[in-house]
Symmetry: C2
Subunit: 440 residues, 2 copies
């Protein structure tokens, strides 16, 4: 029998509801796994085992008292260390924030607590959720990168140390670690999950996302986290059904997929191309190769322009005041961003709307876009966190993306990415569930 730490969050929740599993049992199994592995994987920036067990005991006591409980009652969750927590430090992966504590939870952490979750600890982030690699190792092979910037969250879920974790994506920081660590990841529509209390590097890109051990898990935690933040101009204000309901539905017709190589295709490894082509072939008539009209061909540069300009706006003060506390990688990026002209940035924002209109037209004819989650599996060594070139374009468009751990390339896991219509993660997850079973 598998240990509780290997269960999906959904299955653990079902067992707790049935009385066959307690939160303390689950949390202890997670802690034991962490104890055994964290010296190698190094996924956690902060964890206090006694405090985690205390939260689990309280969850079990509340359930035993007959109180009504939330959908994540007693389920442990890992929190990327750029997301504020009232009871643990938040260091943003930077010596500038060493020992930093806030007296408030980020809104998304408060939502998790309100749903009954156990906040297990803080997971390692790359420096300021940017490109310089972190100390975390890939649990599938310790000589390989776990990706970034949500390195610890991806590795911890991938190593069965915790069933759920939060990440954030500005380039490819949710989907890429999902791909490299062999787990399920959802980067939702821009602004679906509130960003208040999360380190801000790019207001038009930064998106809080989630990791889990099944598509069902993504819907479970996605429902808990969706909310409008009236103070955030980019908060998603459209309508949205209950994700858990949609995940459980059988699609009304066999789903269809628009296979997009995307302008990143030339950067993909041959093995990765072969792997995704294999998926397309298995789907047969349900999958057609498509493309999008110009300016889609410029999309990689457009994302880079927006990200660099906004990064410089938010991090420029660090560069001025404490340049010695920044890595060479981020320093070089910020310096380069000084050459970006305002009108080019505006142009990139305007073209986003234009490309989104053609993507909407495409998705009127298909259930989802099918593409690579990453240019290849996790890179060997720790010079980089790997390429985010298959992610930045979708982050730029603000549309929801799911990564399914369905490929093995040269012995390492790699994801299949599905992309949906803004605000329609319900349909996206339903389609993802179908594909997950189809490729099982």
């Amino acid at each position: 029998m598998s240990k509780a730490n290997e269960l999906s969050a959904s299955e653990a929740a079902r067992r707790m509801a049935a009385g066959t599993l307690t939160s303390v049992e689950l949390v202890k199994d997670c802690l034991a796994r962490i104890e055994a592995r964290d010296g190698d994987v190094q996924a956690w920036e902060y964890i206090d085992p006694a405090y985690a067990i205390e939260q689990a005991e309280q969850a079990d006591a509340e359930r035993a008292s007959g109180k009504s409980v939330g959908p994540l009652h007693g389920i442990p969750v890992g929190i990327k260390d750029i997301i504020d927590t009232a009871d643990m430090p938040t260091e943003n992966g930077s010596p500038m924030f060493r020992g930093r504590r806030t007296n408030h939870d980020a809104l998304c952490v408060a939502q998790l607590r309100a749903a009954g979750a156990v906040i297990l600890g803080k997971t390692v982030t790359t420096e300021l959720a940017n490109i310089a690699p972190s100390k975390t190792r890939n649990p599938h092979n310790l000589g390989f990168s776990p990706g970034g910037s949500s390195a610890g969250s991806g590795a911890a879920v991938g190593d069965n140390q915790v069933p759920l974790a939060l990440g954030t994506q500005t380039g490819g920081s949710v989907i890429r670690p999902a791909s490299f660590n062999g787990i399920y990841g959802l980067k939702p529509t821009l602004g679906l999950i509130p960003r208040a209390g999360v380190l801000l590097q790019s207001h038009t890109l930064d998106t809080v996302g989630v990791y889990g051990r099944s598509v069902e898990d993504l819907g479970l935690i996605g429902d808990v986290l969706s909310a409008v933040d009236p103070d955030d101009r980019w908060s998603y204000r459209g309508s949205r059904g209950r994700l858990s309901d949609m995940v459980g539905e059988t699609p009304p017709a066999t789903p269809t997929f628009a296979f997009l190589e995307t302008p990143a295709w030339d950067h993909a490894e041959d093995d990765a191309k072969a792997a995704i082509n294999g998926v397309a072939e298995r789907l047969g008539a349900q999958c057609r190769k498509e493309t999008l009209a110009a300016p889609f061909d410029e999309i990689i540069d457009l994302h880079a322009t927006v990200m660099a300009a906004e990064d410089l706006n938010y991090y420029g003060a660090f560069l001025e005041k404490t340049p010695e506390l920044l890595s060479p990688q981020i320093t070089e990026r910020l310096e380069a961003a000084k050459s970006i002209r305002a009108d080019r940035y505006i142009d990139a924002l305007i073209k986003r709307d234009e490309i989104n209109r053609s993507l909407e037209d495409l998705l009127a004819r298909y259930d989802a876009v099918l593409c690579l989650s990453s240019a290849g599996p996790a890179p060997e060594g720790f010079k980089t966190t790997g390429s985010a070139i298959f992610n930045g374009l979708w982050t730029y468009l603000g549309v929801p993306c799911v990564s399914l751990p369905k490929l093995i390339v040269r012995g390492m896991p790699m994801g299949v990415q599905l992309v949906g219509m803004a605000g329609d993660e319900g349909r996206l997850l339903r389609t993802a569930k179908w594909l997950d079973e189809f490729l099982a």
Copy 2:
């Protein structure tokens, strides 16, 4: 007895409803005034008297038939020549667009037609609604500027050539001509009036505004023009009462005013300062001098940054393709905008939200901000269209502004400006009506 062209739009509409005035009589009086004066004032870029009378005859016939009619039925309106009309050329004040015709109306023109208005003709705009002066002259003294960029609309209403006209404001292009030409002007909340079919130079600033001969006129045409444009990210989507109802209401308490000198104060002429100080003194305890916290002190530069960067984005292609068709003034502006860094532009957009929050706090305690409509009365000669320094700051904030023609400085008219809460032009107009009568 006054001629019909001297009536306010509201009074003309009442007389038509009562059967004591026809649209043909009104339009003919307007055309006679134009015939007599346009050689001097030069407010019209395009006008076809026969076609105007034809529209008026049709309006009269419709009314006679017993058909239900709209609130502007039979009322002539002048349209700034950067606003598309299906039946007249739209030349954007530039040789690049000479003879340009579109086969559609701008949404705001379609709204006017649906309300029964007679589209009298197209009024002169400065080149591309920017700073280079136009041929139009100030009707109060032909040696003086009418302001810009809505020069023709301001002068035509100021000279009793038409009771209502449309303008647009990116810097000070609605309120400044209102001030210089001695008329009532409303620059509403950003996005209250749809911009589809209007020359775009700055999506975060460009605002369609209106001129009339009374506060009541501003409410009458404002109601007709308010609508959500779902394709415009900056369209105002908040709630709003009926402006005409609010204008007719007695304020529940005697209105109070926050007198803001604003960071533009040092640029105001001494006579202008004395004039607005006189208004504040007459208001006594109802008016208090206030200020706003930093970064309000930077607001003039912040507006300039946003406007220049967006101008370059939209007009940069003209500079590349046909520089010989641009004036030296706009060329110099666009060239200078190339030095604006993207992160500075982003910073300016973020600070806008910050300043708006402190303005909201202020307007929770007052009915309106009181300030100058312009740095002085119309400048003599035609080297510039005058300073817009008292306008750009409010355009940047996207808040509604009214100009009331209540001051005379060195024999020329000048406006008192009231500024309200975003989306609350109803209260602003009610307050403006009160002040208009108080200062009568």
